[in-house]
């Protein structure tokens, strides 16, 4: 395998982006930030891949106009996934592994505020027997949280502790749209939203965009003193059916973790849009109490759809660049109740070839 590193990362998170759902206006400055970080121009990018959803944009081919944000004259080597940024990055990593290109820029965008997000996501369910009932994302997550409480795997105080830590850490994150910790007691005193979830147990509806730059070998070393080398990258999916899987577990997270090799990570950025899901993901990845979880504040402080997972990888990479850690991981999820999961492990040291 070729040594490939994350060498650039930019993000914008907003409570409500008052602009076009194509997000071109957000993407142009974001790409400029990537060029500034790398010292590159558009012509240095060997491959482009984006992630977005037509249903979120409320139109077909939502990625088409976003491609114009690149300024694709002359034409570029480009692809798109109807998935989160993390999977767009996976496609780009594969492309670099084939040897066809040495560099890639991946980006993703989503304007969740244009509709009612939890209702839009009902369109993601099995269309014959589930979607007609319009179960919304928050309610489904509530069922999952309740299943864990009933099974004695966690309680509301453990969930509140996740929230309190996240919102406290988010105070140091300029991109966070929700921040400010208090105490477990104070959080538990707040009203129920979708029993047993309180509002703060659910990631805030967030608009936003993010981009990640990948480079192989010397191209990466040219950009950064400490590139964040991808030492493990794996993803997997579970069946959707909520009635036949154990909602307190996430086998696809465990498989992705095993595939990526998570032992020894110091910091983990986990894409758990609901507080109890962080407890599930932590368990499935086998992360010990010595691992720092979501120092950025994580998705409970801001979760732009279709870039929220990739942002976790970007945040994990930043900790390598800064020297704060030498081994980190970023996790991304998609689908109802942690159905599909990806794990990316990043190292300051290159693997022995």
């Amino acid at each position: 395998m070729r040594d490939v590193a994350v060498v650039g990362f930019a993000q914008t998170q907003l409570e409500d982006f008052d602009g076009s759902p194509t997000c071109v206006e957000l993407l142009v400055p974001l790409l400029a930030e990537c060029y500034e970080q790398t010292g590159w121009t558009r012509k240095d990018i060997g491959f482009w891949c984006s992630g977005s959803s037509d249903y979120l944009a409320g139109r077909s081919f939502s990625f088409v106009q976003a491609v114009d944000a690149i300024g694709v004259i002359p034409p570029v080597n480009e692809s798109h996934v109807e998935m989160d940024l993390a999977w767009a990055m996976y496609e780009a990593w594969i492309k670099i592994q084939t040897g066809e290109v040495d560099t890639a820029l991946v980006y993703a965008f989503g304007k969740s505020s244009a509709g009612v997000l939890r209702r839009s996501l009902s369109m993601q369910l099995e269309p014959y027997t589930m979607t007609p009932l319009w179960p919304d994302t928050v309610s489904l997550a509530g069922l999952q949280a309740r299943a864990g409480i009933d099974a004695g795997q966690w309680d509301e105080a453990a969930m509140a502790a996740v929230v309190n830590r996240s919102l406290t850490d988010a105070e140091k994150n300029e991109h966070a749209v929700r921040k400010g910790g208090s105490s477990v007691e104070e959080l538990l005193a707040r009203p129920m939203y979708a029993d047993p979830l309180r509002k703060h147990d659910c990631a805030p509806v967030t608009d936003g965009v993010a981009a990640i730059v990948l480079a192989a070998g010397d191209r990466a070393r040219d950009v950064r003193d400490r590139p964040a080398w991808i030492s493990g990258l794996a993803h997997s999916v579970d069946a959707m059916s909520m009635g036949t899987r154990d909602l307190t577990r996430s086998p696809s997270t465990a498989r992705a973790g095993a595939g990526a090799g998570v032992e020894g990570v110091e910091i983990a950025e986990l894409h758990a849009p609901f507080s109890h899901q962080e407890l599930i993901v932590t368990r499935e990845l086998g992360l010990g109490s010595d691992v720092v979880i979501n120092p950025s504040g994580g998705p409970l402080s801001g979760n732009p759809m279709f870039s929220g997972g990739g942002i976790r990888i970007g945040e994990a990479a930043r900790r390598i660049w800064s020297g704060e850690a030498s081994r980190t991981l970023g996790h991304a999820t998609s689908g109802p109740a942690l159905q599909q999961n990806l794990v990316c492990v990043l190292d300051a040291e290159q693997k022995e070839a």
Binding site: F61, V67, P127, R255
Partner: protein, 386 residues
């Protein structure tokens, strides 16, 4: 680092119809997948990863349907990717699947692309009014008609060239049991007599709206060694250009020309018209055959229609195009590109049945999408690339 060799060892497709009321989306995909797996001599359990492609989710009314399909597609416990790159998606999806093998990450990848257009209305799904955008409200035909008119003006092609393409492809489709349209007795005259829809595009010069799927099994060199007839991948390319740019040439887009040049270089081809034995080119409206022949370098600019008129693109001609009947005979949009890629593989494997080109050794699979901004192509051959 060079790409690892990869080959298509299984091809499967559905019987394409206007409405496949007999199957769900999952059933449609499995029909194609099961045929591809049988062809490859593999079971779903032996597959390492699944790559799904389809055009806009609004065509069926399900957001990211691969999530609910994961179990039916045998993806549970495996990596599952979902590609969406407009009309070129079937081709792009095959390319992403092959890159998983070429990267050395997987050995046996199954890819499936589908569209069940009868679940909704493509015209509606493509015409949602967007703020600050001029609505077309005319579907793809209304969008492409000016490009065709421009081609005719530039090349001086006679009016009946499009009808020649349509009659050829509809007759080719009679040799393809999977094709949606089996219109017996289609002639240049009958096409010319059909209703004008978007001048100069007549009813019989347009693609149908189909339900259908296509699946491919793509394997590494060691796995392909046990296949009696692998279609080796000699080159793959994807290119995209701007949607909104005054300098765009929509008749012969730069992304298409760039893609073709890169593809022929990768595949070691210097004269496509002499070295390619069969081409499956994405022709949703008849006139795109001569337009793409020029853009791809099979003919000089302005000369593509002469190739068509001479009969060179017919089965048995110098450069047979769309022997399967092409997009003009079956158009499950998300799968249409993969059908081109898969039919190219069938030709070099000698498995194209009645529409087989005798002795085909190298074939082109081609797809395009959007308003001619997105291109995906591959060359497959019966011999392992040197």
């Amino acid at each position: 680092m060079a790409k690892q060799p990869a080959a298509v060892i299984g091809v499967g497709q559905t019987h394409h119809r206007a409405k496949r009321d007999d199957v769900s989306m999952a059933g449609l995909c499995r029909e194609a997948m099961d045929r591809a797996l049988e062809d490859a001599g593999l079971t779903l359990d032996e597959i390492d990863a699944i790559v799904v492609g389809k055009a806009p989710d609004l065509f069926e009314g399900v957001m990211m349907p691969e999530l609910y399909l994961a179990e039916a597609l045998g993806a549970v416990g495996k990596p599952l990717l979902r590609v969406h790159t407009a009309g070129s998606v079937g081709g792009s999806t095959a390319i992403v699947a092959s890159s998983l093998v070429q990267a050395g990450v997987h050995k046996k990848v199954l890819t499936v692309a589908y569209e069940k257009q009868s679940e909704s209305n493509a015209m509606w799904a493509l015409s949602i009014p967007i703020p600050f955008n001029m609505p077309v409200h005319a579907g793809a035909g209304g969008y492409f008609a000016p490009h065709v008119r421009s081609y005719i003006r530039r090349s001086g092609a006679p009016e009946h060239i499009g009808a020649i393409v349509a009659a050829k492809d509809r007759n080719n489709a009679l040799k393809n049991p999977y094709a949606h349209l089996h219109n017996e007795g289609t002639t240049v005259e009958s096409v010319m007599a059909s209703t004008m829809l978007w001048d100069p595009i007549r009813y019989d010069e347009t693609c149908p709206s189909s339900d259908g799927a296509c699946a491919l099994v793509i394997a590494s060199e060691d796995v392909a060694a046990s296949s009696p007839n692998p279609a080796w991948i000699h080159g793959t390319v994807m290119r995209s250009e701007a949607t909104t740019a005054a300098e765009r040439d929509q008749v012969n887009p730069q992304a298409s020309r760039d893609a073709a040049a890169a593809l022929w270089k990768q595949a070691g081809i210097t004269s496509p018209v002499d070295e390619i034995d069969a081409a499956e080119i994405y022709v949703p409206f008849s006139w795109f055959e001569p337009m793409w022949l020029e853009s791809l370098g099979f003919a000089a600019p302005g000369e593509g229609w002469k190739l068509t008129e001479s009969g060179a693109t017919a089965l048995g001609g110098k450069i047979p195009v769309n022997c399967s009947g092409g997009v003009l005979s079956s158009n499950p949009i998300g799968a249409s590109g993969m059908l081109r890629f898969g039919e190219a593989a069938l030709q070099v494997r000698g498995l194209a049945g009645e529409h087989q080109v005798d002795g085909a050794r190298k074939a082109l699979g081609h797809a395009y999408g959007g308003g001619s901004q997105f291109f995906a192509m591959w060359v497959v051959g019966s011999d392992k690339p040197s």
